[in-house]
Amino acid sequence: MNTAKPTPNPSRLTQGYWDQIQKRQLVVMKCQTCRATVFFPKAWCPSCLSTEMTWSPVSGLGTILTYTIVHQAPFDSYRESVPYVIALVEMADAAMQMMTNIVNVAPEQVAIGMAVQVVFEERTRNGAPFLVPQFEPMVKALDKEGGL
């Protein structure tokens, strides 16, 4: 039984994203020519076909567009986590939407429209620590830090 949660195999297109994630910075691809936001990462801008793409930081604040509480997991490493939440989160400051788990909250408290923020979960890849972005409710941060 493999209890290690999956990690990506960064490709030529996604290596830059994962490098920034390891520095605890959520990023999105931006076209240098027309400023379009591009996610998932692409080799060129689908709007203007420019290949001048860079990584731009995003705040990691967003809201839940939709979610599900998973009770039957597809593979062993997540079987230990049931029930867990999968959500799509819309970023507050970028035209970027991503899948994530919503962590550090009781699943039944998760709702559409909930404000969330990025946190970084440590997994193991090739024997070394590897960070994966996850999201938790904003209110949690207020508790921890006494306000923004």
């Binding site: 195999n9 996604t14 994203y17 979610y67 039957q72 997540y78 999968i86």
Partner: protein
């Protein structure tokens, strides 16, 4: 359609488990049953073969040139042959490609065929389908797999339009009623299902309980698309293809920004425009139903009711046997069975049989216009057929 192409013949083998056969063997069983069911068709009549790749979900050997295996098996030399793939939408698209070829007089009798195996989730299908359905960097790592991905669609759609878990459950209840009328339906022996049964079944991924999900099994089916002249020789009442539609949207769920309308609306409206028919003309619907949310979305996207009205429509029993908008008259993937790679052919077969008046105990009276809507991937590709008794 000017030359009136039609589905002249349709056959499906009994869904179940066939441990002694691989996917290619299952194709042979489909062929055997097809020629038994349709004695006026012989392999020599066929000049086209459309097939699908095998074993994307099952454990067998993947065949990407299945059409070659089939024309070798039949010992024919077709003028049109291809292996094509668009997930569950593959088969309604095969019919569409066949219709165009017949209209262009490229071919006259095109066999569209498939067979598949869907292992149970516990036998590893969860992980395999997760790898097929989710992006390796941005989705798979979050424990996403097919039921959870469709659950994301359902949660949002229910939020926007006031659909409830009871409405979802009522779809499974209706389809089970239909399955009891089909001698081959996988869940026929299980008897009727109640809304309470569905809501009491184990939760898979909210809002889906076990009985909101289709039943994995193995099987296969084929339809023959021909010119009008040949169709009439084979079958006194062929299923004429009145209109078709096709639309391809986002491959991955996390790229989808609008959960209020799907490719089904675009594909459906193309098919209505092409046929000159309207939703009011449709007597029966066969709608792809990997999960209970799908028929509810499709009833609304195809214009059979207004937005947010599908829930009360199913609660009133209107999609049940005897209802005025019968849906999935063979039991659907929820109760007839989900044959994995082959699943999208089941609704094409049933749509054709209803139109032909050959659906036995489950035959809907006056099934003059039947709409088939299928999707592939994560509701990515959409294909609609409108079938009719009178060209």
């Amino acid at each position: 359609m000017s030359t009136h192409p039609a589905i002249a013949a349709a056959t499906e083998i009994r869904p179940g488990r066939y441990p002694q056969y691989d996917e290619v063997d299952l194709h042979r069983l489909v062929l055997q049953k097809f020629f038994q069911d349709w004695p006026h068709v012989s392999p020599r009549d066929l000049d086209g073969v459309l097939a699908a790749p095998t074993a994307l979900l099952g454990d067998g050997r993947p065949e990407v040139a299945m059409h070659e295996i089939l024309y070798d098996e039949l010992r024919i030399h077709p003028v049109m042959a291809e292996t094509m793939y668009a997930g569950g939408a593959t088969y309604a698209l095969m019919v569409q490609r066949a219709v165009v070829a017949i209209q262009n007089e490229r071919a006259n009798a095109i066999l569209c065929i498939t067979a598949g195996k869907f292992p149970s989730v516990r036998a590893g299908a969860g992980e395999r389908t997760a790898q097929i359905a989710s992006h390796p960097d941005f989705e798979y790592i979050y424990g996403a797999y097919i039921p959870a991905i469709y659950a994301l669609v359902a949660t949002r759609y229910m939020h926007e339009y006031g659909i409830t878990s009871t409405h979802l459950a009522r779809v499974a209840v209706a389809e089970r009623q239909w399955a009891l009328l089909h001698p081959d339906a996988l869940m026929r022996e299980k008897g009727l299902l109640s809304v309470e049964d569905v809501l009491a079944s184990r939760m898979i991924a909210t809002p889906f309980h076990l009985f909101d999900c289709s039943v994995p099994c193995e099987g296969g089916a084929a339809v023959l698309v021909t010119s009008e002249t040949l169709a009439k020789r084979i079958n006194p009442q062929p299923a004429y293809v009145m209109g078709t539609g096709e639309y391809h949207s986002d491959r991955y769920i996390s790229q989808r920004q609008d959960f209020s309308v799907f490719g089904s609306q675009m594909a459906g409206s193309q098919a209505f425009t092409a046929s000159g028919l309207t939703p009011k003309d449709v007597r029966v619907l066969e709608l792809y139903d990997s999960f209970t949310i799908n028929p509810l979305i499709y009833l609304e996207d195809l214009g059979m009711c207004g937005r947010g009205e599908s829930g009360s429509l199913v609660m009133e029993g209107r999609i049940d046997p005897g209802g005025d908008i019968p849906v999935n008259t063979y039991g659907g993937l929820l109760s007839f069975g989900h044959t994995g790679d082959a699943s999208g052919m089941s609704m094409v077969v049933e749509g054709a049989l209803q139109t032909m008046g050959a659906a036995g105990a489950r035959q809907v009276e006056d099934a003059n216009v039947v709409l088939v809507h299928t999707h592939g991937g994560m509701m990515s590709e959409h294909a609609t057929l409108i079938l009719g008794r009178h060209p």
